[in-house]
């Protein structure tokens, strides 16, 4: 039961995303057409405050629950994969207004459409896994 804290954190994160409307299709449409500051403020604010936390992790001022140093996993390198993969993800995000975490949150709002999105995401992940060795990085 030591992981129950992640369940509670998930509930908290879902409430934050929902209450700030960061799961709304309209908010993402508005973001991609640059007609509002709202989503840029949320993501930008999250990045800025997180950057401060990252410094505190790096200097060891904040350690994890077991007293270990916190080091975010390095992201895999590869220009084509990040840029092209990112653009494919962006296409799906732009049309459906959903990215990874919100798909799970939207299950609580619009069950059937979110299930279809999730099924699609699992098919997409499966396709990637099946052909990943043949793709350029």
């Amino acid at each position: 039961m030591k992981n129950i804290k992640f369940l509670i954190l998930g509930i908290f994160f879902a409430i934050v995303l929902s209450k700030t409307q960061a799961i709304s299709w309209y908010r993402f449409y508005e973001m991609f057409t640059f007609q509002s500051f709202h989503m840029f403020g949320i993501i930008g604010g999250a990045v800025l405050v997180s950057a401060i936390f990252m410094q505190l992790f790096k200097t060891g001022k904040i350690k994890d629950i077991n007293g270990h140093k916190i080091t975010p996993k390095p992201k895999k390198k590869g220009y084509i994969s990040t840029l092209f993969g990112g653009a494919l993800f962006g296409l799906g995000w732009g049309i459906s207004g959903a990215c990874a975490a919100p798909i799970f949150v939207i299950l609580g709002f619009k069950l059937v459409p979110a299930l279809i999105l999730l099924l699609g995401a699992l098919i997409g992940t499966f396709l990637y896994g099946a052909i990943s060795k043949k793709l350029p990085n």
């Binding site: 998930g10 409430i15 449409y29 403020g41 709002f109």
Partner: protein, 185 residues
């Protein structure tokens, strides 16, 4: 209590997302959402088809609980914490979407034109969602992360691949909203 029921402004949302990231790392794990798609594939037996999925999903039990939390949180917020789902959208955006034929723009979180039961069970509506999902799943794995993992965790820890990924997200998102949505609707 009144504050909780109002929509929360961006300057509350940004720091609260950062605090979620802080707690996730404090609890000893790397913050991100899209690796869960992989874990769910592994649990569904995808390892039989590709070695890529031959992983021990039980090591990610914490992440599965996080997802369950996301779902519960969605139900709680939808059911009890949003008495008025109107979105305070830019009037220009409302006009633009109305011109495309969207009805009751921003009167709720999700447009009926994509999310209503009737649309979802039509061929076009189903295809729009399933193909979007496939792009999301394939793209996020190819890029190595999503909005949480790349845009927030990656950018804030100054990782160059994340900057490329976010540029990619916007290229795709702009193509979708500027070109594909006007074609689809």
């Amino acid at each position: 209590m009144d504050f909780i029921l109002q929509p929360w402004p961006w300057f509350i949302g940004g720091p609260l997302i950062a605090i979620s990231l802080l707690l996730y790392f404090y609890f000893g794990q790397n913050f991100g959402a899209s690796t869960n798609f992989e874990t769910l594939c592994t649990m569904s037996g995808a390892g039989k088809v590709s070695d890529y999925f031959k992983k021990d999903w039980k090591q990610r039990d914490y992440a599965l609980l996080f997802i369950v939390g996301l779902i519960i949180g969605g139900f709680i917020t939808e059911g009890y914490l949003i008495p008025d789902p109107t979105i305070d959208l830019n009037p220009d955006t409302i006009q633009e979407l109305s011109d495309l034929g969207f009805l009751n723009v921003a009167s709720q979180y999700f447009p009926d034109e994509i999310f209503s039961t009737e649309v979802v069970f039509s061929l076009k509506g189903f295809l729009i969602l399933i193909v979007s999902g496939i792009f999301i799943g394939f793209g996020t794995r190819y890029a190595g992360g999503c909005t949480s993992g790349h845009a927030i965790t990656g950018l804030s820890s100054l990782q160059f691949p994340s900057l490329l990924a976010v540029i990619g997200f916007f290229i795709g998102g702009i193509i979708a909203t500027w070109f594909l949505i006007p074609i689809l609707f």
